[in-house]
């Protein structure tokens, strides 16, 4: 069965104040896909996620399931898009369970919120064991799991993940990528992920976009990108 187009960006430019970071970006994500955004520091990967989620203003078109949208976090959460920001951003002085419940704001029904929190505890047993502990007492890897789980509280169609393995040990990085793969396979959640850890990410992605200076310079399947020399050339500054 052919997958439908979930999110499309057409000629999107965005930045901060007067400075444009991304220029005329066009990309697409199908339902249930894992898509990677890759590139060196300052290429505009995180800016694309922020523009999609309405955290910064943009020009150009953002289409969700074929409908043009004018993104704001409040509306996008309701439309089934969740964003897991860089740096985990868990609420240190609230418990793991309270962090999860905050992620379910748009659900309104308290029972449904509880049910989903329980479901996520089953999906992430490491969090279940620490459900009543303050998030600030968790390790970096556990905080990342919590941040990702919190983004899944609304059972989104599309999960935007910004640098999910930043500052984590190789063992934890492996676990995080396994979790991303599991979420994608079990929940059929499409994932747009910004990541530096290319070797771990590429094998699980359906598609990857390579960015340099705010422009897409290559797009292909994860395995083809891995086989080509594009990443080497990009990171060596040859493009």
């Amino acid at each position: 069965m052919e997958k439908g187009l979930l999110l499309e960006l057409k000629n999107v430019s965005a930045g901060y104040n007067e400075t444009k970071i991304i220029h005329d970006i066009s990309l697409a994500i199908d339902e249930g896909e894992i898509v990677a955004l890759m590139g060196p520091n300052g290429a505009g990967k995180s800016t694309i996620l922020k523009a999609i989620f309405g955290l910064i203003t943009h020009i150009g078109d953002v289409l969700l399931e074929g409908e043009k949208i004018y993104p704001s976090p409040h509306e996008l959460v309701k439309m089934g898009v969740a964003y897991v920001p860089q740096g985990r951003r868990v609420f240190n002085n609230l418990t793991v369970k309270e962090n999860l419940e905050l992620g379910g704001y748009s659900l309104k029904d308290n029972k449904e919120c509880m049910r989903r929190a329980e479901h996520l505890f089953n999906l992430f047993p490491a969090l279940h064991a620490k459900h009543d502990k303050l998030a600030g007492t968790l390790s970096g890897g556990q905080q990342q799991l919590l941040s990702t789980a919190r983004g899944l509280m609304t059972e989104p169609k599309l999960l935007l993940l910004d640098e999910p393995t930043l500052g984590l040990s190789p063992k934890v990085v492996k676990e995080i990528f396994q979790t991303i793969k599991d979420i994608n396979q079990n929940k059929k959640t499409a994932i747009l992920v910004v990541e530096h850890n290319l070797h771990s990410l590429l094998p699980i992605t359906n598609r990857a976009y390579v960015l340099v200076h705010g422009k897409i310079v290559a797009t292909d399947t994860g395995s083809n990108i891995a086989k080509s020399d594009i990443l080497e050339r990009v990171f060596m500054g040859k493009i």
């Binding site: 989620f53 955290l55 409040h74 959460v77 964003y83 951003r89 609420f91 609230l94 419940e101 905050l102």
Partner: protein
């Protein structure tokens, strides 16, 4: 004994004010110096209604929070675009405007002469005109405010306020309209502060603009910082300590005028020492 009742009444009134300040500043992390203004709005509402229109003080305990809440709603909406230091400066501006208005609007507020002859509360044949009876009333209001603050701090609303204090931008990611929550807690804090103002006006039976200056707001800051930010118990402990410590100076033989001046010095010194050595306060978990 009457002196102890007097001090306990003051602790109760300042306990209410400190709890309200803690709700806004401690729980939600909204830096505001407008506490004394809403305290004053409560006091002036009670004083004007009771002296000019013959209202019972018990009635003003209901009307004053409504008046303070509506003013806070207008101010909160106007200041919604400000954050952190800018919000603090905007609330300072509001306090200065309030103080200037009550100091100069002679027809309504009595100007610099203030309002005298504010009656004691009475209900049926019972008048709360003795220190003990007024203490009972002040404690009842204090316990109601404690109940409200504990209810909020344990509710999902309180949890959102805590999350706003920690990382407002992260909370917006989940679709929260944080400005609405901040406005709500600002209004609730103002309503609770006004209750302290009503009690003060009725207790001392005279008010003027000098009671509601920036010094009073700084005192409320000192109370919650000393007791511990974001802790209801901390706010109460701060009120207890900062009312009783200056009073203790009288027992060391300082004349009243000197003791009064030293009070300000003690508040200032305590704030400096706390920032240096115990920024979380006595019972607190969080730094300012």
């Amino acid at each position: 004994m009457e002196y102890i009742f007097h001090i306990t009444i003051l602790i109760s009134i300042y306990g209410i004010l400190a709890l309200a300040q803690n709700l806004v500043m401690g729980s939600a992390g909204l830096l505001t110096i407008a506490g004394a203004a809403f305290y004053g709005i409560g006091a002036y509402t009670a004083a004007i209604l009771a002296t000019a229109f013959g209202f019972n003080i018990f009635t003003t305990l209901i009307i004053a929070p409504i008046v303070a809440g509506l003013i806070a709603l207008g101010i909160g909406i106007s200041f919604a675009r400000f954050r952190d230091d800018y919000f603090l400066l905007a609330t300072l501006g509001f306090l200065m405007i309030f103080n200037t208005v009550v100091r100069n609007w002679e027809n309504v507020t009595g100007g610099s002469f203030g309002i005298a002859g504010i009656p004691k509360p009475h209900i049926f044949s019972l008048t709360f005109d003795t220190p003990f009876s007024f203490l009972v009333l002040a404690l009842i209001v204090l316990f109601i405010v404690i109940g409200i603050c504990y209810f909020i701090s344990r509710s999902s609303f309180g949890r959102v306020l805590n999350a706003i204090r920690e990382d407002e931008d992260a909370l917006k990611i989940f679709g929260y309209k944080t400005s609405t929550y901040k406005l709500m807690v600002f209004v609730i804090g103002a309503m609770l502060s006004s209750l302290g103002g009503v009690l003060l006006a009725s207790y001392i039976t005279f008010i003027d603009a000098n009671l509601f200056t920036v010094n009073e707001s700084i005192l409320l800051w000192a109370m919650i910082i000393l007791g511990g930010i974001a802790k209801n118990r901390g706010a109460l402990l701060g009120a207890l300590l900062l009312i009783t410590i200056p009073e203790a100076l009288r027992f060391f033989g300082f004349p009243n005028e000197i003791a009064g001046l030293m009070r300000q010095c003690i508040y200032g010194l305590l704030l400096v020492f706390l920032m240096l050595y115990r920024p979380k306060g006595i019972l607190g978990q969080y730094k300012l």
